[in-house]
């Protein structure tokens, strides 16, 4: 099969975003709606009978949803939202595992012109509450268990939160409603709201070094990038069986776990269960997956199980394998080539970019350890801050910030209610990613690290401040510094250094108590995996804890400039 992007230089030279937009249908009057491009246009084109989603439950059983099924179900959901008074621009949140209702809610929300914000179900109550408060959540779709454990205690504190829809309650508890009851009563006919390309469609949260999580705003126009990058970077052909293993609670799981595969009319696999090597190989073989998009953490866990389980499977249908989330180390690329007979293609992007920006393509040699080259339509560079502003760094292999020229369709349009933080991302005509990288003489980019204290664990960004704040709430804690420490499987793990209040003794039992305290508030995805006690943490004159120094010492690296150090670690 010929790669869609068969000649990188040629396609790049002739590419225009207008031409990419023309691959979509649009709605009358210049309107554009992601859900129309993902579902209804395929039904109109006679593809309604094709399987859009094959959902595999934890028990191994499956349910198929055709494009026509999904179109009708999302129409019902849109009608439900409208009957509840949801208007275009209102924010609809989900807190769900990978169940069919999540996918129906996402696209149904877009149909009614509202904004969809998916949250990872492994978040604890505090990250959930913070994200819903910042985004003025009007509706939450969740399960009975998640609601009871993570939301019920504080729901009254959010003034905008009008409706909670429970997917699995026969008799909903007070203040909630049964989604299935509402769906049964709703019509399967709905005229998609004619959203403008610049109307807000998706809200994805990400973490910074300081302050609250940031809600990156994406608009309906982003679908132009979702669609074309699905073709160029993932090589999606219409007859592909595609499996993106990411959870929609993270941006990858929405852009490439919902939107791109559906706009490209492929059949996509959704697995409800968490990672399990044998199960994953079974899915690849049985479902005849042809394009697979996964993450370095998963690949490294598969490596641990060895190549033999791969070789015992018939994976002859598997044509293209891609990876995202953090740099894929060269060993993992080599292992992929050895075990699967083909390499993993690493690519790079972030919540703010909305879609893949830099990639290794089917038509190009993979340089193991490199993130590849910019997509057609994307200008990327390594820049340095100098006295005269931001300038491009001399090539090759100078470390600087990875920067992009603004203007691609899936670029974030703002951090919700945080104009100042948004504007800080753009300097001298560049979007600054916050990632440090290098570019080699062939134009391939190489990831180096983060330019700030944000922790990258299993491909997800964790803000140290969010973790520190939760630990500070414990009565025994005087101060906290949180860093990421290298881990060969997940990249970095969250480690907290804690100084206790005077008179409190550091014991193993207290360590577990703090761990439990953090997990209860933050959930397993954000909570620290390790806690170490100190008598005092290194601080500047202004009292700011020097995370950088904690990290240098933890890793045995040079301490660097410590002229601002006032009160040292003990």
């Amino acid at each position: 099969m010929t790669a869609i992007l068969s000649d990188y230089d040629q396609v790049r030279a002739s590419f225009s975003w207008q031409a990419a937009r023309a691959e979509l249908d649009g709605l009358p009057g210049g309107a554009l709606n992601i859900a129309h491009e993902a579902l209804d246009r395929h039904v109109t084109a006679g593809k309604g009978g094709k399987v859009a989603i094959r959902w595999i439950g934890k028990d191994g059983g499956h349910r198929d949803f055709t494009y026509a099924d999904l179109s009708a179900e999302t129409n019902r959901f849109a009608n439900v939202l409208r009957s509840l008074g949801v208007a275009p621009g209102d924010r609809v949140y989900s807190l769900l595992g990978r169940v069919p209702e999540l996918y129906i809610a996402a696209l149904g929300t877009l149909k009614v012109g509202a904004v969809f914000c998916p949250m990872f179900s492994a978040f604890g109550p505090e990250p959930i509450k913070a994200r819903m408060a910042i985004g003025d959540a009007k509706v939450l779709i969740t399960s009975e268990a998640l609601y009871r454990r993570k939301v019920a205690d504080w729901r009254g504190e959010l003034p905008h939160l009008a409706h909670i829809l429970i997917i699995d309650a026969d008799v909903p508890t007070e203040g909630t409603r049964s989604l299935s009851d509402l769906m049964r009563a709703a019509s399967s006919e709905f005229a998609i709201v004619r959203t403008r390309p610049e109307d807000m469609a998706l809200l994805h949260f990400t973490s910074g070094t300081t302050g609250r999580p940031k809600g990156a705003v994406h608009v309906h126009e982003a679908v132009v990038a979702h669609h074309i990058t699905g073709r160029y970077a993932l090589d999606l052909h219409e007859d592909d069986i595609f499996w993106c293993t990411a959870d929609p609670g993270w941006v990858t799981g929405t852009s490439y776990g919902i939107i791109a595969p559906l706009t490209n009319a492929v059949t996509m696999i959704v697995d409800e269960a968490e990672f399990d090597a044998e199960r994953w190989y079974g899915i690849l073989e049985r479902e005849r997956v042809s394009v697979w998009y996964t993450a370095p953490t998963a690949i490294r866990m598969l490596m641990k199980a060895g190549a033999a389980p791969v070789r015992s499977r018939n994976l002859s249908q598997l044509r293209f394998m891609a990876s995202v989330g953090e740099p894929l180390n060269p060993e993992a690329v080599m292992w992929g080539a050895e075990a699967f007979g083909k390499p993993f293609h690493d690519n790079w992007w972030q919540t703010e970019t909305g879609g893949i920006m830099i990639a290794n393509y089917a038509c190009m040699d993979v340089k193991p350890g490199s993130m590849g080259k910019p997509l057609p339509g994307i200008t990327a560079a390594i820049v340095e801050k100098t006295e005269v502003g931001v300038v491009e760094a001399p090539r090759p292999m100078t470390i600087g910030q990875l920067a992009l020229r603004p203007g691609w369709p899936s670029m974030m349009r703002g951090y919700l209610h945080e104009q100042e933080r948004y504007e800080k991302c753009f300097v001298g005509g560049w979007y600054l990613s916050g990632d440090l990288a290098m570019q080699d003489e062939d134009g391939y980019f190489w990831f180096v690290g983060r330019d700030d204290d944000v922790i990258k664990s299993a491909g997800h960004l964790i803000g140290p401040f969010e973790v520190e704040s939760a630990l500070m709430e414990h009565p025994a804690v005087a101060e906290v510094g949180v860093i990421g420490v290298p881990d060969e499987t997940v990249g970095e793990v969250v480690k907290a250094f804690v100084a206790l209040k005077p008179g409190i003794t550091a014991t193993d039992e207290l360590n577990l108590e703090l761990l439990g305290h953090a997990r209860k508030r933050l959930g397993p995805a954000v909570a620290p995996k390790q806690i170490a006690f100190r008598q005092n943490l290194p601080k500047t004159r202004s009292g700011k804890i020097m995370r950088r120094l904690l990290k240098a010492r933890e890793l045995g690296l040079p301490e660097g400039d410590i002229s601002t150090l006032e009160s040292d670690e003990r």
């Binding site: 990672f275 044998e278 199960r279």
Partner: protein, 81 residues
């Protein structure tokens, strides 16, 4: 190892990873990761800790048997002789 002892050891190791969850109050036939709110990394750490403590190999291929608390206890008591 008898079931009671396997139960005690599993509960102890789980408590080191998820001290916020009381092993006596979970659904023993329910999804272990969900009941204890643990992620893939926590699960691997649990397996590593048990492997170290009991000196028994726990290969990936056996993970399907470790999906519930009850299944995990049965597996440990069988493997640890």
């Amino acid at each position: 190892m008898n079931t009671l002892e396997a139960d005690r050891i599993l509960a102890e190791e789980l408590r080191r990873i998820a001290p916020d969850v009381d092993a006596t109050s979970v659904d023993r036939g329910g999804d272990l990761r969900e009941e204890f709110d643990i992620d893939s990394m926590d699960f691997l750490n649990l397996v590593t800790a048990l492997n170290k403590r009991l000196g028994i190999p726990i290969p990936d291929a056996d993970y399907p048997r470790l999906g519930t608390y009850a299944g995990f206890v049965a597996y440990l008591s069988e493997k640890a002789g």
